[in-house]
C-alpha cells in the first residue's frame, strides 16, 4: 500500500513536469529505453518508464496508479482496460509482435532446429509462468505442438515474469529456457550462447498492444509517444531486438 502511495506521488509529480509516465512490459525494457531517448531528443517530451509484468500493471492501474500509457506484453490486458473504462476507447494499437526464443548461455547446446528438446541432456528448462506471462503461455503451446509437454513437465521451472525466466538461464541455474528474443538480441544478433528462434507458427502470435490510459487522455506527451511508437525510427530500434510488425 505504501508502495502505491509513493508511486502515486512520484507519478503525480512527474505528470506535472510535462512528462509521460509509461508502464512497460518487462520484455520490452531494452528497446523502450532507447526509444525513450530518441523520443526526448526529437520531441522534447520526457518518457518516465516503469518496467514490470503486465498483470501487475493491470492491478496497479485498476487501483488508481497514474500511468498514462501502457505497453503490454499481450493484447488482452489493453482490451480489458478499455472495456472497463480505464483506457481511452479507440486508442489501442499493436506496437510490436514479439518472438520467442529457446536460449542457453552455453554455446552449442541449443541447435538451430530446437532438437535439443527431444535429445535431452539438460536438467532444467525455464519458462515463464503461463498464467502470468504471454511468453510463458507461448512456450507451453510450443511444447504442446512438439508433443513434448508430458515428457518435459518434470524438468520445468517457472519464472514469475519473462525477466526472471531470463535470470534463471543467464545464471546457468537452468541450462536453457524460453525467453523473449528481445532479451538476448542486440542489433539483430543473438549476442551470447546458443539459440533457436522458435518458428512463429508453433504458437499464437505474441501481439503486444499499447493503450492510452484514462489518465493520459488529451495529454500531449502521451499522445505524441503513442504516435512515435508507430513511426519508422522507433520500429528500426525494435527490429534490432527482433520484434516484427
Amino acid at each position: 500500500m505504501r508502495f502505491l502511495v509513493v508511486l502515486g506521488l512520484l507519478a503525480g509529480g512527474l505528470a506535472r513536469a510535462a512528462g509521460v509516465s509509461v508502464a512497460v512490459a518487462a520484455n520490452f525494457a531494452a528497446p523502450m529505453q532507447k526509444i525513450a531517448q530518441a523520443f526526448e531528443q526529437d520531441t522534447g517530451h520526457k518518457a518516465l518508464l516503469a518496467f514490470g509484468a503486465t498483470g501487475k500493471f493491470y492491478a496497479l492501474i485498476r487501483n488508481g496508479a497514474p500511468f498514462q500509457l501502457l505497453l503490454a506484453a499481450d493484447d488482452e490486458t489493453p482490451a480489458r482496460l478499455e472495456k472497463e473504462g480505464l483506457a481511452v476507447s479507440g486508442s489501442r494499437f499493436t506496437y510490436a509482435t514479439g518472438r520467442l526464443v529457446l536460449w542457453s548461455r552455453t554455446p552449442g547446446l541449443v541447435d538451430q532446429q530446437g532438437e535439443v528438446l527431444r535429445r535431452g541432456g539438460f536438467e532444467r528448462l525455464a519458462v515463464a509462468d503461463p498464467r502470468l506471462a504471454p511468453y510463458g503461455a507461448a512456450a507451453m503451446q510450443v511444447l504442446g505442438q512438439l508433443g513434448l509437454l508430458q515428457q518435459l513437465q518434470p524438468r520445468l521451472v517457472q519464472g514469475q515474469s519473462i525477466a526472471q525466466t531470463y535470470q534463471f538461464v543467464a545464471t546457468g541455474n537452468a541450462a536453457l529456457g524460453f525467453v523473449a528474443l528481445s532479451q538476448v538480441m542486440t542489433e539483430g544478433q543473438v549476442s551470447e550462447g546458443s539459440a533457436w528462434i522458435v518458428p512463429a507458427k508453433l504458437h499464437a502470435p505474441l501481439r503486444q498492444d499499447a493503450v492510452l490510459l484514462a489518465v493520459g487522455r488529451d495529454k500531449p506527451a502521451a499522445v505524441a509517444l503513442a504516435a512515435y511508437l508507430q513511426g519508422e525510427k522507433a520500429r528500426a530500434i525494435m527490429r534490432g531486438y527482433g520484434y516484427e510488425f
Partner: protein, 227 residues
C-alpha cells in the same frame, strides 16, 4: 471457491519448510549464540553483525546472491556438484538453505539475549559443584534459557512462513517442491485470481495474528513466573 490442490500443497510445503528451518536453526544457533554471549574475542562484533545482516538486507539481495552462488558457476554450486548433490536451486534443499540464512538472526538473537541474561554466576556455581562445563551447559544454562528457546523457535517458524523474496528468486515455482504459500498468493494476485488470493492471504493474516498473540501471552506468563 476455496483452496485448490496446489494451494493445499503449498500450505503443507510451507509448514514443512518452516518446521525444519526452526528445528535446524535451534541446533545450529545454540552454540553460536552461546559463543556470542560469552566470548571476549574481537571477532564478536563482526560475527554478530554478519548474523544480523538478513534483518537489514532486502530479501532480493539474499535471493540474488543465492541464485548466483548456488548456480553451476557459483562457489556453492561447484561444491555441491563435486559432492554429487547437483544444483540446489529449484529444490527443497535449496529453499531450506535459503531459509536457514534468512531466519538466522531470529534464532541467534533471542538465544543470545537469554544466555546473556543468565549471566556467568550460575555457571560458576555449577563449576564449584564440580560440574564439567558441558554438564553445566545442559543442566543449568539450557533450562534457564528456556524462554529464549521458545521465542527463537516461534519467531524462526513464523518468519520462514512469511518468507517470500528468497523463495521467489531461487524456487522456480514448482508445485509441491518450491511453491510455498507466499509465492502462491503472489501468483494468484498477478493472475487476477483474487478469490483464491483472498483465501490464502486471509489465512496468513489469521495465522500470523495467532502466532504473535501466543508469543505475547507466553511472554506475560514467563514474566509473572520470574517475578
Amino acid at each position: 471457491m476455496t483452496f485448490g490442490t496446489d494451494d493445499l500443497n503449498a500450505v503443507w510445503l510451507t509448514l514443512k519448510l518452516a518446521s525444519l528451518t526452526a528445528l535446524l536453526l535451534l541446533l545450529l544457533a545454540t552454540p553460536l549464540a552461546w559463543w556470542l554471549a560469552r566470548t571476549a574475542s574481537r571477532w564478536r562484533a563482526p560475527v554478530g553483525a554478519v548474523v544480523a545482516l538478513p534483518l537489514v538486507l532486502p530479501p532480493t539481495v539474499l535471493g540474488f546472491y543465492l541464485l548466483v552462488a548456488l548456480g553451476p558457476h557459483g562457489p556453492i554450486g561447484q561444491l555441491t556438484h563435486s559432492l554429487g548433490l547437483g544444483t540446489l536451486t529449484f529444490t527443497f534443499g535449496g529453499l531450506l538453505l535459503g531459509s536457514l540464512l534468512y531466519s538466522l538472526p531470529f534464532a541467534v538473537q533471542p538465544l543470545q539475549h537469554a544466555f546473556e541474561a543468565i549471566g556467568t554466576r550460575p555457571m560458576e556455581v555449577a563449576a564449584t559443584l564440580r560440574a564439567r562445563p558441558i554438564d553445566a551447559f545442559f543442566t543449568v544454562a539450557l533450562p534457564l534459557a528456556r524462554p529464549g528457546f521458545f521465542t527463537a523457535a516461534i519467531l524462526t517458524f513464523a518468519h520462514t512462513v512469511g518468507e517470500f523474496g528468497v523463495v521467489l528468486m531461487i524456487g522456480g515455482n514448482i508445485p509441491g517442491v518450491t511453491q510455498v504459500v507466499s509465492t502462491q498468493i503472489y501468483g494468484h494476485v498477478e493472475a487476477m485470481e483474487y478469490a483464491q488470493a483472498h483465501w490464502l492471504a486471509g489465512g496468513m493474516m489469521v495465522f500470523s495474528f495467532l502466532v504473535l498473540l501466543g508469543l505475547a501471552l507466553l511472554n506475560r506468563r514467563q514474566a509473572r513466573v520470574l517475578s
